[in-house]
Symmetry: C2
Subunit: 259 residues, 2 copies
């Protein structure tokens, strides 16, 4: 049974402020927790799970030496943020950034400029992982990666993509990035542009790329739409996905041509 | 002030069953309601709005002869599904489908096979509109287009894309569609495939394309990922977006080559 203190600690992690103070977050659902146990077992502090989960994964919990507590379905409902809670919940330590060696002369990455919607951030992390991007950079005001909704939307990809919060100018300077692309409605047609390794800046859902970052963009890019369309813009995660897919396609083609 | 009957009627439209019984739905937010007033004024039954909205758009409300009621911010909060309600809410009649003339020999469209997440459906409608697709087909179990979360996610695009619920086999037969593409992890690389006008089937978030539709697929397509990636799949809206973008690119190129 959960003590009042445990219940309070778990619920406190719904809030960004509390997560940052404690350097802890929580992940939900049997599937994602099994992935964390496999890929980053050391980051798990405690697991709270129903009898089904604990009986099924007893051996793994022992092998990885993970502290775990049996809770009831009613207790799970109390601490879960999901409409249909699924077996288990883990308190985890923040990951350590291991990003010093990102090589922008051969790879490309994304910079999220105040992307605020947790679903968008999670979806972009999932897409980045699909296309082999090992790190994503985010402005300090971009949504918190440890927001439970973000973790949910990544479908596990947050375990495999480093997320670094930093000012754009610092990222550009530290990594000596030459090509800085920006998703802009007034940009060049992404399909007519020879794309090279570098950084792709994706703007905020309502306001796009912030004015004080525009001067850093070396190549503005747009996704051409149908001439008759009245839709003003694409969703931020969709724009990021289509542009990332095109970068991946062109850079893979270049590699295949060279070999 | 809202009467109890009006309050009940508005809240009842949060439920699909009630929407279908009454053939009514509601839309929220000043921006979207102005778009409906411009593009489909006849479908508006009533508008409930705060003093700000009514004063600012008084002339338009008169011109379009739209019945409207003044409500307080507190009343708006009671009937809104949004965390920060925005000025106005409209009760609207279902749109009439005008889709008999969709020509699959020159155009392409999407078939959503049990896409269940409202955010995904809304995002796909927005993408479809961007690329000039005039109608989308959905399986009967796909999320309801009149779900307020769907309408929100389309950012107005639901006014410009017809949504037709029908069995895949009926759509194929009615429109005599020859090329039926399917987003499948075991498909052909979408970039190596010559894409032609036709229908693209996008599967359910968890289960993909349903087993009893697979035999209808003439060309399975996949989005190639990085060889090292461990992410099992892409989000349904992202997969739909990347494939739709590639169809648009290839078909536009073909048109430009012919002219």
């Amino acid at each position: 049974m959960l003590s009042k203190t445990q219940l309070k600690q778990l619920q406190s992690l719904h809030l960004k402020k509390q997560r940052e103070a404690k350097k802890l977050f929580f992940a939900e659902g049997a599937k994602i927790i099994l992935e964390i146990m496999e890929q980053k077992p050391d980051c798990i502090l405690q697991i709270f799970a129903t009898i089904d989960f604990i009986e099924k994964h007893h051996a793994l919990l022992q092998e990885k030496k993970i502290q775990h507590f049996l809770i009831t379905n009613d207790e799970l409902k109390k601490i879960s943020l999901q409409s249909t809670p699924n077996q288990a919940l883990a308190i985890c330590r923040f990951f350590e950034d291991t990003i010093n060696d990102f090589d922008f002369s051969t790879n490309f990455s994304l910079y999220l400029d105040d992307v605020r919607d947790p679903g968008n951030l999670g979806t972009i992390i999932r897409v980045a992982n699909w296309f082999g991007i090992q790190a994503i950079f985010c402005s300090p005001n971009t949504c918190d990666v440890y927001n439970p909704k973000v973790i949910q939307a990544t479908m596990g990809a947050f375990l495999r993509v480093n997320i670094v919060y930093a000012e754009l100018s610092n990222v550009v300077k530290t990594h000596q990035i030459k090509n800085i692309y920006g998703a802009l409605l007034s940009g060049n047609n992404v399909y007519n542009q020879k794309l090279s390794p570098g950084l792709i800046v994706i703007g905020n859902e309502a306001n796009g790329i912030s004015d004080n970052h525009l001067h850093l963009i070396t190549t503005p890019l747009k996704i051409p739409g149908h001439p008759t369309q009245l839709t003003e813009s694409l969703n931020a995660a969709v724009a990021a996905s289509i542009i990332t897919a095109e970068f991946f396609r062109q850079l893979q083609n270049n590699k295949n041509t060279k070999h």
